[in-house]
């Protein structure tokens, strides 16, 4: 990853909601084209971190640098919106337009693209995501999986360089989860920077170059390669990302982590 341009640099970032800490002393950098998963238990501060990266909220202390410029001071907002796309965890808050077509067109229109270019982008996005047949439908009439697809489409149509995805697999059926992983893998191939907040370890294993673990103390517990982090059972147990389970097979006590991402390693 050496020599790659730095997209984000977070320097001693802390964020509080009133007296309640969401993030504490976060130091992190994100390189161009990198795919990073931010893992953490519920309430660890993952969503807050993504909102900070999108300039939707600002840190209580510390700095968030975007391509070397401080968010909130120096960065042109239009440039930020053109280059960063945020897929919210709850699609209902993101889908507010009368039709799927209007929803996907909303972003490109706001950044000032011409009507012709917007229509082309929307048609292409809907085709890419297999949503063309839904374009006249009001988004609130769609299923959860379809809503999620439209929410992703509404961000992709802006053609952002950085994609921030908050809990992208939550509430999706297995088929749609696989579809989503394939889409994200394609986007990674074409050089998009993806930052995914999740507690789905298998998603992190499939897509990430690096994994960041946010601990329940709202600080970074560890950063490293996906292989290294996801193989560290103690670390995952400490961050409440996996649960250990023990049962007996005759004389043997079998201990292993529990959940969709299991580490079977211990026998007594």
């Amino acid at each position: 990853m050496q020599g790659m341009e730095e997209v984000y640099r977070l320097e001693r970032v802390s964020c509080f909601y009133g007296e309640v800490a969401a993030l504490k002393d976060i130091d992190l950098n994100v390189l161009r084209g990198e795919s990073i998963s931010v893992l953490g238990a519920n309430g660890a501060g993952k969503s807050t971190l993504l909102k900070l990266l999108d300039g939707l909220i600002f840190p209580s202390s510390g700095r968030v640098m975007f391509f070397g410029m401080s968010l909130g001071d120096a960065v042109n907002l239009k440039a930020l919106r053109e280059r960063v796309g945020f897929v919210f965890s709850e699609p209902d808050v993101q889908l507010f337009s009368p039709t799927v077509f209007d929803e996907v067109a909303f972003g490109p229109l706001q950044i000032g693209l011409s009507g012709k270019e917007v229509v082309k982008r929307v048609e292409d996005t809907l085709t890419f995501l297999g949503l063309s047949h839904l374009k006249e439908r009001p988004p609130y009439t769609l299923s959860t999986g379809e809503k999620k697809k439209v929410a992703i489409g509404s961000v992709l149509s802006i053609n952002p360089e950085v994609l921030l995805l908050d809990e992208p697999t939550t509430g999706l059926d297995p088929k749609t989860q696989v579809w989503l992983i394939e889409v994200l893998a394609e986007l990674k191939k074409i050089g998009k920077t993806c930052i995914i907040a999740t507690h789905d370890l298998s998603l992190a294993a499939d897509l990430s170059d690096r994994v960041v673990i946010l601990g329940e103390s709202h600080t970074i517990a560890s950063v490293g390669s996906a292989e290294h982090i996801l193989g560290n059972k103690e670390l995952l147990l400490g961050a409440n990302l996996i649960h250990e389970h023990a049962h007996r097979h005759g004389e043997i006590i079998h201990r292993h982590s529990h959940g969709p991402f299991s580490i079977h390693d211990e026998h007594e």
Partner: protein
């Protein structure tokens, strides 16, 4: 690793299933269900006639449709005789039939408005409110109460006006998708921010309704008898507070999600499509009726 300790009572089986009383719904539950279903019925604009190939009225652009209906609504306010209102109502029925909207769905929307108007204006029919020539007299507990011709005429005329305006609005809703209506409003020059705000209110009413329904069902799934009125009211007030919290949460998150896609306070939309032949024809008809009504048609 800590072993999970299951409480003893959790290991015991449940009561055997036996016949019992019919499960009834409480007053609050019934009303919540009724209000929710009424709002859905009234607010949702989804029917086969609203499609592009629906029929006559669907061929007119949404902008022209809304503009024409608005002009006719103003015209209906100026009409001062029953024949012109009958003409307007007949025209609406005729268009509804040619647009495959159907008479029954039209009636379903118009009749509640007429009933509500009757409830509001019924005193007008009687001599204690409208003096005039009495033609049907009742003796109620020694008091003389009579229907008057003038009262019937005034009340009847009001009802006709309500029927005409309600059927015009219903025709619009029955032949247009909600997206068309909001798109049409933008096309008519209503500020985009205003239209978007109305649409978002409209859209999130459905989400909040869903939350209300689910909350009510979740409560029902854990109760045996319907709540007595006092408990029901208490529960309802606490849920109203919860709903307000959810509404505030949604408003904050929606604002952030709009900002994340480049919204800076001014919503940009597609430029309007120019009007076509059918649009001019419809608008011409609407303005003709309007001017005739001003000229005491």
């Amino acid at each position: 690793m800590e072993t999970l300790k299951i409480p003893e009572w959790l290991k015991q089986g449940g009561q055997p299933v036996c016949a019992g009383a019919v499960i009834r719904e409480g007053f609050i539950e019934k009303n919540l269900k009724a209000v929710s279903s009424f709002l859905k019925e009234m607010l949702s604009v989804r029917n086969p006639a609203s499609g592009p190939a629906g029929g006559l009225f669907q061929g007119v652009s949404a902008r022209a449709r809304i503009g024409g209906v608005f002009v006719l609504l103003v015209g209906a306010v100026f009409m001062d005789n029953a024949i012109s209102l009958f003409f307007l109502i007949s025209t609406v029925i005729f268009i509804a039939c040619l647009s495959h909207a159907g008479l029954f769905p039209l009636l379903k929307r118009v009749v509640p408005a007429v009933i509500f108007s009757l409830v509001v204006i019924w005193p007008v029919f009687f001599n204690f409110f409208t003096a005039g020539r009495e033609f049907l007299v009742f003796d109620i507990f020694g008091s003389r109460v009579a229907l008057t011709e003038e009262g019937l005429f005034q009340g009847g005329f009001f009802i006709l006006r309500v029927t005409a305006t309600a059927s015009l609005v219903s025709l619009l809703f029955l032949t247009a998708k909600e997206a068309d209506i909001f798109g049409g409003l933008k096309g008519l020059g209503v500020p985009a921010f205003f239209v978007t705000a109305i649409f978002m209110t409209f859209r999130y009413v459905f989400i909040l309704l869903k939350i209300v329904e689910d909350t009510s069902l979740a409560r029902k799934s854990r109760t045996i008898n319907p709540a007595v009125m006092r408990d029901g009211k208490r529960w309802f007030s606490s849920r109203a507070g919860f709903l307000l919290q959810r509404a505030l949460y949604f408003s904050e998150e929606v604002t952030l999600s709009m900002a994340a896609r480049g919204f800076t306070g001014r919503i940009k939309v597609f430029a309007s499509v120019p009007l076509r032949g059918k649009d001019y024809l419809w608008l011409g008809f609407a303005f003709f009726v309007f001017f005739m009504s001003i000229g005491r048609f």
